[in-house]
Each structure stands twice: as structure tokens, then as C-alpha cells.
Symmetry: C2
């Protein structure tokens, strides 16, 4: 069901892929550190995708109850240890360097349209992430990249990962708003489907190169989302 | 025990009284609305203090378990309804106007030194509130007054009020830091005593006129806090 977007007072943003380019950022940082360490012949875009591939399975173990609450930083780190072995570079890095590698996810760069779009939207709406990132990840990222959030909703606040109900319902409750007064903006149809299920307004941001040339999912809108666009500036054009 | 302030990576701020002047702000907003409504002869500074006097008893009911979790907005509203009667102006305001009156607490003005001090400190530290305010209160306040928080820790995130342990411990845990890497800044000795008990660094900001001329508590530091000053700029001078 389409919502009246005139009712919206707050806009919540998925972060990985929607606001920031994790694949390009991890690739750049990987290439940098490889140069520094004299490591050659690593396919860093493939490394980024392999790292990201541990994200959903890691969260799924928490969501199923198989693991107790585990922060995304711990999930990232467990996966990192595996792919450093897979890519044959586990011996290259000290423990301290691995700790810093894991913070790549705290230092992702926004897509070029994200900051200008958010600055515009912030004039008219409360804006914040609704992300599976941790509070320390999201606040470090925002500080470094000047992302002008009004507040931060992280998975560790809710002790749950999207698309679990309590994330969306918890955010709406914290804001003291009705579901239709809160818009979810994401590059992922699944995220928007959950938001719509809970009565939120929805904005789809098409990011067909989030995963690189081999991307097969989220190449377009799967439903009649309230806004369908290809940038955060695109949301601001329709909303502000 | 004094901490080494060189270890500090994040500074958490009490808000009511430390960062914002609730008494002056409520007084100004009260006088404004009184002019608008043609209400005369209300002692607005006394009204502000009477409103604030409901704060600790309201939280104490939650802390004792007498009431289930209740947001500060609900505590403010319950007290407002009482003092509107006490001051003889309950009939002056519609329900909608009372809802807006309660949002006075979302629109408090910072002390003159707060924003310049926070801007400076933000260059070197993660900064955020650790407040008994709600997330919607603190984010609305920050947006209106341009308070440059990196994140917001509100009582509703922890479902607890300071000085309960889980507020301080929860914040340290979210930040992924050691207690001594986190500094609590407050105008209230009780708040700093709890922070120090949990191993945090402490900064006392003397605000001897927070409650007006009749203030009897927190007229000075009660312990050898790591920083003792009279403004947020004073903290930035020592830390940045």
C-alpha cells in the first residue's frame, strides 16, 4: 500500500550499500595497506565481496538463536580471519593490524550523492541510520565522513538485526511517532518490505553496482515503493 | 582516584544543567506563551523549578520498580498537569497546547559556552550525551540548537535512569572502550561519583545558577574530579 509521504517526519537510512559504498571503500583501503605491506596479487574487490558474504550468515546465527547477541564487529572479525586464510595473507598481519583491518567497516566512504542529499533532508526531517552496524561503527563512520545524523539507531541498541520486527518497531517507538510518519530508505527490497509490513513509508535507492558487476539482487524496485530513485539526492528532490 | 586524562577517547555529557540552561529556557518560553495567551502574574522561574522538582521523584518511582519503565516525557507531562493546577492555569491551555508545553524540554537553549566547547572537543574526541532525557527529546534539542553530538545515549536506550549502574556500563559497552577511556562531564557531583565508581574519568562543570539564586547543591566540586571547571570551554582548554 502506498503511503502519503506528506506525513513523514523522520527518515531512517540503511547504511551499507545505501549511504556508503562498502565495496569501493574496502577495495581502496585494501589496496593501500597492500602497498604499504608489500603484498601483491590480491583481488581486493573480490576480498571485499568475500568479506561481505559473511555478513548475512553471521547475523542469521544470531537471529536463529544459535548464537547469543553478537555485534557486527565480532561477525566482521570472524569472517576476516577466515578470508585472510582463504586469500593466503593471514601471516602478513599482526593481531593489532587485524584489529585495524576490521575497522575498515568504520571508515567507509559515502556515495557521492549521500552527504548533499542528507544535508538537504536534514533541514526538513529528523534523519538517522537504521543499520545493522554497531553504534561505535556508525558513529566513527559518521564522524570521519561528516554524515549529519540527528541520532543513530544501531543493531546493538536493539540487540537484533534487520529485518527482525523489533528493529523497526523499536525505532518507531523511540521516535514517538506513528509508523506512517517514519520513512525507511534502502537499496534493498527486503529491508523495505519489512518496513512496509510495519506501516512505514518506503524509499528505494537503486544501487545496481553495490556488489560490483556480478550483482544479481536489488537491481531495481520489486514493489511500488513510495519513492523509487537512484540516489539520496533523488529522495531529497521528492521530499524537500 | 584520579585518572590519566590522556587515555580518554570519548566524553559523555550530562545535559540538563550541564549543557543546557533548562531554567532560563523554560522561563523564556513560559513568558512567551503567557504573552500570547494573555496570562499574567505567573512566576515563570518558579514554574520552571516546580516542574523540575517532579524529575527526581518521577524517576525514583521507576528506579524503585514502583512504576514500569516510563519515559522522561511522560514524567514531565504528569508533573506539568500538576503544576498547571498549582499555578492556577490548567484551564488556560487546550490538550494540544499542553502537548506543546511539554516539548519545552525538547527546545532548551545551551549555555553560551556549550556549543563552542563541544565543537572544539569533537575534533579530538567522540562526544555524546549520557542523559536522562529521551532519544526524541535529545535529538530534537540537538537539531534545534546545533549541538554537534557524534551519537546520543538516552535513558530510553537503557530503560534506566542515572545514576543506575546499567546506564554507565551500557554506554561504555556500546562504545567498545575501557572505562578509563570514557569521561563523564556533569554539573552534578552525584553523576560524577557514579561515573568514578565505574572507573570513568570525570569532569565537573560548575553551574551554580542552574536552579537560580536559591540553589543549595552542586555549588562546587565535592571530590577531586579529574577536571574541575566552570564551562564546556573549560573542559576543551584542558583536553584539546
Amino acid at each position: 500500500m502506498m503511503m502519503k509521504i506528506e506525513n513523514v517526519k523522520a527518515i531512517l537510512f540503511d547504511v551499507f550499500g545505501t549511504v556508503v559504498d562498502w565495496r569501493g571503500s574496502i577495495t581502496r583501503m585494501g589496496e593501500d595497506i597492500a602497498r604499504h605491506k608489500g603484498v601483491k596479487n590480491i583481488d581486493w574487490p573480490a576480498f571485499a565481496n568475500a568479506w561481505r558474504a559473511g555478513y548475512k550468515p553471521g547475523m542469521a546465527q544470531v537471529q536463529s538463536g544459535e548464537r547469543p547477541w553478537t555485534s557486527i564487529d565480532a561477525i566482521h572479525r570472524k569472517r576476516l580471519d577466515q578470508i585472510l586464510i582463504d586469500f593466503g595473507i593471514a601471516e602478513v598481519f599482526t593481531e593489532e593490524e587485524k584489529t585495524n583491518l576490521n575497522k575498515f567497516w568504520h571508515h567507509l566512504d559515502p556515495w557521492p550523492d549521500s552527504i548533499p542529499g542528507l544535508i538537504k533532508l536534514k533541514q526538513f526531517y529528523l534523519i538517522g541510520p537504521l543499520s545493522n552496524g554497531s553504534l561505535t561503527l556508525l558513529s566513527s563512520m559518521a564522524k570521519r565522513a561528516n554524515i549529519p545524523w540527528d541520532f543513530i539507531f544501531s543493531s546493538d541498541i536493539f540487540k537484533a538485526y534487520k529485518p527482525d520486527d523489533q528493529v523497526y518497531l523499536g525505532a518507531i517507538n523511540f521516535l514517538g511517532l506513528q509508523p506512517e510518519e517514519v520513512m525507511m530508505a534502502a537499496a534493498h527490497n527486503e529491508d523495505l518490505a519489512a518496513a512496509r509490513f510495519h506501516g512505514m513509508a518506503t524509499a528505494y535507492v537503486n544501487r545496481p553496482s553495490e556488489y560490483g558487476p556480478a550483482q544479481r539482487k536489488d537491481l531495481g524496485a520489486s514493489q511500488d515503493w513510495d519513492i523509487i530513485t537512484d540516489s539520496i539526492i533523488g529522495i531529497s528532490t521528492k521530499m524537500a
